[in-house]
């Protein structure tokens, strides 16, 4: 006898009826999905249909490869099992439906025959086991292990139980079918075969087995329908929202913010839910409450009130409010606390860790924009910063004339005297105005450029703040003002190439000025050093004996994916190489200065720079090298507060390179 399966054996000819039965749960599910869709449509317009083939490819890669999800091994494996387990089971059901409703009625053919059927059966059993394992792992993790990253809602246990029950009843039905029919190929359905053996030991009569089979078949059907009915209202909705979110993710530079058209938009920033774009609202539904953002957020780990997972879920709660009260509940200051918003250092650890590409940061900045620009509700310290930037052109209020004070006896061209240069050294505000800790970096940079024989110049007195602090703090109006002034100055001096050692300046010029009409070739100083070392324009006189660790600045690392270049440079200048800290590269722990927090006074929780310097000290090296003046400011203060400055150095990579060349 040719291996095959009689579909609907023992349960009656439900070929047509099944579709009428299925209509109800499918209808409810569709209603649920449509309801979510109308919620997303409450948001503003946003164009996300560019580069469709690339979007599709990247989506398939994420789904099949599971790379981000697998970054945590237990939940990664668990999800892989569930995804492929239920995926293959679903494909199996589709194959049966295809045969029964299209192939056989039209062409009189059956494919679930012979060897194909045997392979089909074996695969479904194996993947059914994966599904079972995955769901069991999920239940165990959420309810027994109870990690801090997970919370529990009634809908979670309902959904997990339904899914578990679907798989178990599926196997029971298979087992009962096999013990009644006893086909010779039963071993190709191993789980069912084993279950059948178990049933036989209970000595159940064949007639009862047939009855049980029919009963469990219906239970299996009802449970499956339950899954379909319930999924839009539970966490499982992410099987629709998360792939959609992956498909529509931003293809632009990481963390790049959208400019505001001050003539057209109202309000400036996000006051209520409809002020978000539809994609930002879709984000809220893609969230599966996995908690990775929370567990990677430095503010959260530093026991500050900010919690990115809670932020997204609180926004989702606001999204779900009935239509009438939506406008009455402004978000910033009400459902989202102001302190939470200011605590964010814009480090993007949350965005980096999110497997479904939620943009926590753009929502925080959107809410900040509203607070700053429409309500003028800002931390006390920030008023002075904004006024300084507007009046003096820098957040410290040092004024442009003092921007050249760092120049002692270092040969440097000022472009307003001679603009015949290869590249502009963009010094930045910390490099010229803060104090000796950062001005030394600038002097070192100029010396390195001179050693390499690079014809460079600086703007000096004509340099203004790049505007990044204003933008990150939410003052888009001030950012636009300053950026336009910078674009005018750079145009006047015909500047096309910039090099800077400040990742904030680097990031904003490279990724955000082009949208405003200022397009330049921008590189970070560490990248330039590598080019110079590789091209032997810079020669290491003697490698440093020091053994160091390296801290990835957020705006160089996560924002611009520049992790290896500084490490290569350190490899060339250090005899003993570097030792990595526990959290480095993509998961590097923020120094705490970003997003305006450099100027924020005392806050709740721990000092983030202290937490990070403790990680650095734990490497038992001679010191920490970084590639960002903000980071250097924070870590120098941290190490001196601990009184360890004699034994643990804090240096910028430019300073180290200057020392050895």
């Amino acid at each position: 006898m040719i291996p095959t399966r009689e579909i609907f054996w023992n349960v009656g000819d439900l070929r047509v009826a099944i579709y009428f039965l299925a209509a109800v749960p499918l209808g409810i599910a569709l209603y649920g999905i449509l309801r979510r869709y109308t919620k997303w449509r409450m948001g503003k317009e946003e164009k996300r249909l560019d580069h469709v083939p690339q979007r599709f490819r990247s989506l398939v890669q994420s789904l099949v490869g599971h790379q981000k999800i697998l970054q945590e091994s237990y939940p990664g494996l668990m999800h892989l099992f569930i995804f492929w387990g239920f995926g293959v089971l679903f494909l199996g059901t589709l194959t049966i439906a295809f045969q029964e409703d299209i192939l056989f009625p039209i062409l009189g053919k059956k494919i679930l025959l012979g060897n194909f059927y045997l392979l089909f059966s074996l695969l479904l059993d194996i993947f059914g086991l994966f599904a079972l394992a995955g769901i069991s792992m999920a239940i165990y993790r959420r309810y027994v292990i109870r990690p801090r990253s997970l919370d529990r809602r009634p809908s979670d246990i309902v959904m997990l139980s339904l899914l578990l029950w679907v798989v178990i009843t599926g196997f029971i039905v298979e087992g009962l079918r096999l013990t009644v029919l006893e086909p010779s190929w039963a071993l190709w359905e191993p789980v069912g075969f084993l279950l059948g053996r178990v049933f036989n030991t209970f000595g159940i009569a064949a007639v009862t087995q047939k009855g049980l089979h029919k009963a469990f078949w219906w239970v299996h059907l009802v449970a499956s329908m339950g899954v379909i009915i319930y999924f839009p209202f539970s966490n499982l909705f992410h099987i629709i929202s998360s792939p959609l979110n992956l498909f529509f993710r931003s293809l632009g530079p990481s963390g790049a913010l959208a400019p505001i058209d001050f003539q057209k938009e109202k309000p400036f920033g996000v006051a209520h839910i409809p002020d978000f774009t539809w994609k930002q609202l879709l984000d809220l539904d893609a969230c599966t409450r996995c908690g990775r953002c929370q567990e990677n957020c430095p503010a959260y780990l530093g026991q500050k009130p900010l919690n990115p997972k809670k932020l997204i879920q609180d926004l989702k709660t606001s999204l779900n409010l009935p239509l009438r009260s939506r406008e009455d509940l402004p978000l910033a200051g009400q459902s989202i606390s102001e302190e939470d918003l200011w605590d964010c250092t814009t480090c993007q650890a949350c965005v980096e860790s999110c497997p479904v590409e939620i943009g926590h940061l753009e929502k925080i900045v959107g809410l900040r924009r509203y607070l700053v620009m429409e309500e003028a509700k800002i931390p006390q310290e920030y008023k002075k910063i904004f006024k300084n930037m507007e009046i003096f052109g820098d957040p410290f209020g040092g004024g442009s004339l003092t921007r050249e004070d760092w120049l002692t006896n270092v040969k440097t061209k000022r472009v307003y005297q001679d603009n015949n240069i290869e590249v502009l050294l963009w010094v930045g505000c910390t490099g010229s105005l803060y104090d000796e800790r950062t001005k030394n970096i600038t002097a070192a940079a100029a010396k390195v450029l001179n050693k390499a024989g690079i014809n460079f110049g600086i703007l000096g007195k004509q340099e203004l703040c790049c505007g990044d602090p204003a933008r990150r703090m939410g003052n888009e109006y001030l950012f636009l003002k300053i950026a336009n002034q910078n674009i005018t100055i750079l145009k006047k001096h015909k500047i096309k190439k910039l090099v800077t050692f400040c990742p904030h300046c680097f990031n904003v010029f490279r990724n955000e000025y082009p949208l405003l009409g200022g397009a330049y070739e921008v590189i970070h100083f560490s990248q330039l050093i590598k080019i110079l070392l590789d091209g032997e324009r810079l020669v290491v006189k003697s490698k440093t004996e020091g053994f160091f660790t390296y801290h990835d600045p957020c705006y160089l690392g996560r924002y611009n994916k520049i992790y290896q270049v500084p490490r290569d440079v350190l490899g060339s200048v250090s005899a003993s190489g570097i030792k990595e800290m526990a959290y480095s590269r993509e998961v590097a722990f923020c120094c705490g200065a970003g997003g305006g927090n450099l100027w924020r006074g005392k806050t709740t929780g721990r000092r983030l720079e202290e937490m990070r310097i403790e990680q650095a000290i734990a490497t038992k090296t001679d010191g920490l090298i970084t590639a960002c003046p903000f980071c250097k400011i924070m870590f120098e203060s941290a190490i001196r507060q601990k009184g360890l400055e004699a034994s643990f150095k804090v240096l910028d990579i430019v300073e180290l390179v200057d020392q050895v060349t």
Partner: protein, 284 residues
């Protein structure tokens, strides 16, 4: 009730600036301009009164076209009218004559000014204007309260050593405010944009029937010279502060370093260093 606020765009002279010719003026290219901080307090006070009582607020300045930036900033706090008297920089007396000539044609109940301008530091315009208008004035107030709409105001004037004088004043009156009266707001962007678009009423001196020549000017600048070199500011003598404390010190201008050397380091080296210095200075 109407409130008039007199404002001035000042040059920030507390950064290094250049004198453009011997005995002449400060090079205008090298100055950063801003709304006089005392005037900012005055306009903030005027707006608080408006928010409580719904009065009209008029902002007025006497200066060149570039002063309109400061005027618009003051307006963006929420004022109703902006007036600029077109003139170059004049001395305090001439400014007062110009302001008075315009204010005489307006109706007003309260006039608010900053106690002094941060660049000239004279503090005379407010008092001159009040005299010329023949109205009551209290200078250097630290508190203001509109008692009733029946044209009465109670102000507090700081007398020093914690003492305050409480003065009840009939309106119309002019008050010059100290910086401690309030904390000026940061204007919202919609109000900044509104201020950018709103028209400024520009009045020419000629139309006021005033002639400005040497006879009318009570004072003129004979010479300006750069200041004596200031003690180099040491931002934070204690380098063991936390990052946020350090930043706070830096933002508030740091501390003037004394003529001395500063040594830093761990206790062991410090002890030796101190002994060295004591021996050098022949104390030990």
């Amino acid at each position: 009730m109407k409130i008039i606020v007199c404002v001035k765009q000042v040059g920030y002279i507390y950064h290094p600036i250049a004198i453009d010719s011997p005995g002449g003026a400060i090079d205008p290219e090298k100055i950063v301009y801003m709304l006089n901080p005392y005037d900012e307090v005055a306009i903030e006070e005027a707006l608080r009164i408006k928010e409580n009582f719904g009065f009209e607020v008029i902002v007025i300045t006497a200066g060149p076209p570039k002063a309109e930036a400061a005027l618009r900033y003051a307006f963006s706090f929420g004022a109703d009218r902006m007036i600029r008297i077109h003139c170059q920089s004049l001395d305090a007396w001439s400014i007062s004559l110009a302001l008075t000539a315009v204010i005489r044609n307006l109706t007003y109940d309260v006039i608010l000014c900053g106690r002094k301008a941060m660049d000239t530091n004279e503090g005379m315009v407010g008092s001159f204007v009040a005299e010329l208008l023949n109205i009551s004035q209290v200078s250097g107030i630290v508190g203001l309260e509109i008692v009733s709409q029946k044209k009465k105001v109670v102000v507090e004037k700081y007398l020093g050593r914690g003492d305050r004088e409480v003065i009840e004043c009939n309106l119309p009156a002019l008050f010059t405010v100290e910086r401690s009266v309030n904390e000026p707001r940061y204007p919202t962007v919609p109000s900044r944009l509104k201020a950018e678009k709103k028209g400024i009423e520009v009045i020419e001196l000629g139309t006021l029937g005033l002639r400005f020549d040497e006879e009318l000017t009570l004072s003129n600048i004979r010479s300006i010279s750069p200041p004596k070199p200031k003690p180099k500011k040491v931002f934070t003598p204690d380098s063991h502060l936390s990052a946020s404390d350090r930043m706070r010190l830096i933002m508030s201008g740091g501390m003037a370093g004394k003529k001395s050397d500063l040594f830093e380091g761990p206790p062991e080296t410090m002890a030796n260093k101190i002994a060295e210095v004591l021996i050098q200075e022949k104390i030990l």
